[in-house]
Amino acid sequence: MVTQTGAVPAAAPIPRLLIPELDKCIQCGFCLPHCPTYRLLGVETESPRGRIHLIEAAAQGRIPIDRRFEEHMYVCLGCRACETACPAGVRFGTIIEAARAEIGPTGSAPARRMTLLALRHLLPHPGRLRAGARLLRLYQRSGAGRLARALHLLPRRLAAMDALLPPIPDRLFAPAQEVFPAIGPRRARVGLLSGCVMSILFAGVHEATIRVLQRNGCEVVVPRGQTCCGALNVHNGEREAARAMARRNIDAFLGAGVDAVVINAAGCGAASKEYPILFRGGAARDAERAARYAALCRDVTEFLDELGLRGPLGEVRARVTYQDPCHLAHGQHIRRQPRELLRAIPGVELVEMEGADRCCGSAGIYNLVQPHYARQLLEEKVTAVARTGAAVLVAPNPGCMLQLAAGVRAHGLRMEVCHLVDLLDRAYAAHAAP
């Protein structure tokens, strides 16, 4: 074993944490300048290399899983920019998720309980999620929220969360029909993953996605049996509920007989494509079906690029800048496709911002768990965005859209934050009614 002279307390080894991904890291340090938290803090413990080393040490029983360890694991954004930078191809996302599975959700005991409650009993149930959203909408509109805030009735943590929550829109995504016919000759039958946050806060994006897919000759199925993808569960160390959710989606979409599962949220896409890792070491049936499902999953930009965008597109005159969602650029290696789609829209002038593939600080529920660091990253991002002089900021992922919209608002910028399919939808509409 390790011959060390430093004072390191012994702990029990965790063999299941010695995952094969750990072996690939040879500690070259190329990841350091690409890690947002290392850039911010300049300490090895908040870098990918440092975290991997600590995870390996915990797996070997050299250090216990204590509060300090937990902190290092949860200061990480999970943005996976390190994966793009890594010459050895280390899958850091898999490593950090395994470590978090040992810890469970982070925070104080009440915060942990609340997160677990949401992960286990809210996210897996679309019906409960919609009911909760309606309650929240009532709270937001009744003035109770304003009153609570004015009288400082909310605990500090809750007040911070309250401030981050966007207004719940009138319409939630709950389509009456399950199948939307293709326009023109049918080129494919595709499923649409409706997800949790997207269904509640971005019904408009889902509707635009369906219209754009229909215009491209796709018959679109929105299977009723589906649920949230489970990404937030996996990112917050709650794998068991994630597996149950994955199974439901796999059943729903494999049963729908689709050529592809189209996903318009980068985080959901990355998690869905990684279902096979979630079922690693489990039953053969799960593994086989997860692999089949993952092979069908496509981000909407990836799918449209493969299919070949069908015209005619009308003009959308706008200066646009593009934010690479981390789980699209780093998690799925998709960078070219969204840019080409944007360039295909007549009138769109694409201006690149500095550090377009750097995390905006949203990172799932990171802005709730680590608001301080999230705010610093957002500041940096909004500064880069403002420098482009763009009128439209495209970020095809719900977390990024919420975070960036908040940043843009706080800076008083006159800028629209939207999904890429919103612009495509607008271009099709512009042609139909110029």
Partner: protein
């Protein structure tokens, strides 16, 4: 003798930590076991846990740290980005690791006089990034330049892939600010090409943190040449490529870079960068020429002719800046990509007279065969600076020792043909016991006396560079034997 016998025991570590927190604040002193483990490694295969880690943010902080450490008799180990390959940034006998990673401001840029003053934690590539819009660059460009720090480069006198034309770090450092082990702050050198004083800048560059802690670096900036052309020569064997290197240098066209990658390197790096390198070539030569635009066609033609004369089957020219970046990414990502071949790798940094390259390559491969190990060769062919990379698995019993013995033999072979221990990675705690191979006792004693003049108590990065009674073998990365099945089922 073992390292435990020579560890510098700090009288009262908790009191030391308190004293440091008093001057730096609580967040900038690490003492928790998990935090210390994150500083037990650098880019090499050696590991040692420090007693404390501190994060200065100014020269004043460094002075305060040095003074407190002096009161407690604690050793100091300066550390940049921790990408070094010789164990220079770890603490083999304990002590305080002084991480310079929060001193990373570019303090001033003076384009007219072609220099910049930077803090030691500034990342090498960030210097070039700050001035490239104006057509300037900082010349030393190690493969790790996207991550390594200027301070680390100064410590190790780092080279790079353009060393052939532009020289190493010492040729590009004009002045230094340094905190001596007693807390005195000294200014060495200046901003001009020659300073009337003794050349202490030349002394400190390459001293591996054994004389003091550098807190500011005045670097030389260079003007970009008008045009550059980057080419790939695809060869059937390393011997052919080596001969092409010799011929290109002899032709007098003055290439700025001649870098070689062998077949196994290509196998490792191609999946990472997708540069389109052929998997079946015996060797790939990366060649760069720079200069006035009109000149490049002729230079490139000469390069192509010489490559073809040495049996190159194909010459590629980077047509776009993206393509050029890809070629370089393949070269610069080679070390890290070893993780694709095996969980660990070891490498040497030997230099041989260029004319001996083909001979030494044969010897290296013969040694590898004898020990039953694989070797990936990626090196600065133009400088005769070898980097034989040995991928291995430390979890396999006995493998680490076998790899160490093989590499020692390779190093000995290089020294035997008139070569030396290190081209650019530094000696650190990895090759210090080989120093007597190339230096006499009188040579070493002269260097020791110089070190003592700066650091009479031997507290600055002790046990580095000079031979020690213990070897680095104890600190080699160990991994428990691999488990048959490890899954994620949690």
């Amino acid at each position: 003798m073992e390292l435990a016998d020579v560890r510098r025991h700090i009288r009262d570590r908790d009191a030391l930590a308190r004293a440091l927190r008093d001057v730096l604040g609580p967040g900038r002193v690490f003492a928790h076991p998990a935090d210390l483990l994150a500083y037990e490694y650098d880019g090499s295969v050696l590991q040692a846990v420090p007693d404390l880690v501190v994060f200065p943010q100014s020269t004043e902080d460094v002075v305060a740290i040095v003074r407190v450490a002096s009161r407690f008799g604690a050793p100091l180990v300066p550390r940049g980005s921790g990408t070094g390959l010789s164990g220079g940034a770890i603490a083999p006998v304990g002590g305080i690791v002084v991480s310079m990673s929060q001193m990373r401001r570019i303090l001033s840029i003076d384009l007219e006089n072609r220099c910049a003053v930077v803090e030691p934690g500034v990342v090498n590539l960030d210097v070039t990034r700050a001035v490239e819009r104006d057509g300037y660059f900082y010349a030393p460009d190690p493969s790790s330049q996207s991550a390594c720090s200027i301070g680390g480069n100064v410590a190790n006198n780092s080279g790079g892939v353009h060393t052939l034309a532009y020289g190493v770090t010492t040729n590009h450092v004009l002045g230094l600010e340094m905190v001596l082990p007693d807390g005195t702050v000294v200014q060495l050198g200046g901003r001009g090409p020659d300073d009337p004083a003794l050349d202490l800048v030349g002394l400190v560059v390459g001293s591996e943190g054994t004389l003091g802690i550098v807190t500011k670096v005045t670097v030389r900036l260079m003007r970009r040449r008008e045009a550059v052309r980057t080419m790939l020569g695809i060869f059937p064997s390393i011997e052919d490529a080596s001969q092409a290197v010799a011929d290109i240098i002899a032709s007098g066209i003055g290439p700025t870079s001649l870098e070689m990658l062998d077949q196994l390197t290509v196998e490792a790096v191609e999946p990472a960068v997708h540069a389109g390198l052929p998997p079946d070539a015996g060797a790939v030569l990366l060649i760069e020429v720079e200069g006035v635009r009109e000149m490049l066609d002729r230079s490139a033609q000469i390069v192509e002719d010489l490559c073809r004369r040495n049996r190159a089957r194909e010459i590629r020219v980077a047509r776009t800046e993206e393509e050029r970046a890809l070629y370089w990414a393949a070269r610069k990502g080679a070390f890290g990509a070893m993780g694709r071949l095996a969980p660990n790798y070891y490498l040497h940094d030997a230099v041989v007279p260029r004319s001996r390259l083909p001979q030494i390559m044969r010897q290296v491969m013969e040694i590898a065969d004898r020990y039953g190990i694989r070797v990936a060769n990626v090196f600065h062919a133009g400088d005769g600076n070898l980097h034989p990379l040995i991928p291995y698995d430390a979890a396999t019993p006995g493998e680490t020792e076998r790899v160490m013995r093989a590499s020692e033999e390779m190093l000995a072979a290089c020294v035997a043909v008139g070569g030396t221990l290190s081209g650019e990675h530094g000696i650190g705690f990895e090759k210090n016991n080989y120093m007597p191979w190339i230096f006499s006792e009188a040579d070493l004693e002269a260097q020791r006396r110089l070190k003592t003049a700066f650091d009479p108590e031997d507290r600055m990065n002790p046990f580095k560079v000079f031979p020690t009674p213990v070897s680095c073998g104890e600190l080699l990365t160990r991994r428990p034997p691999r488990l048959a099945a490890s899954g994620l089922w949690i």
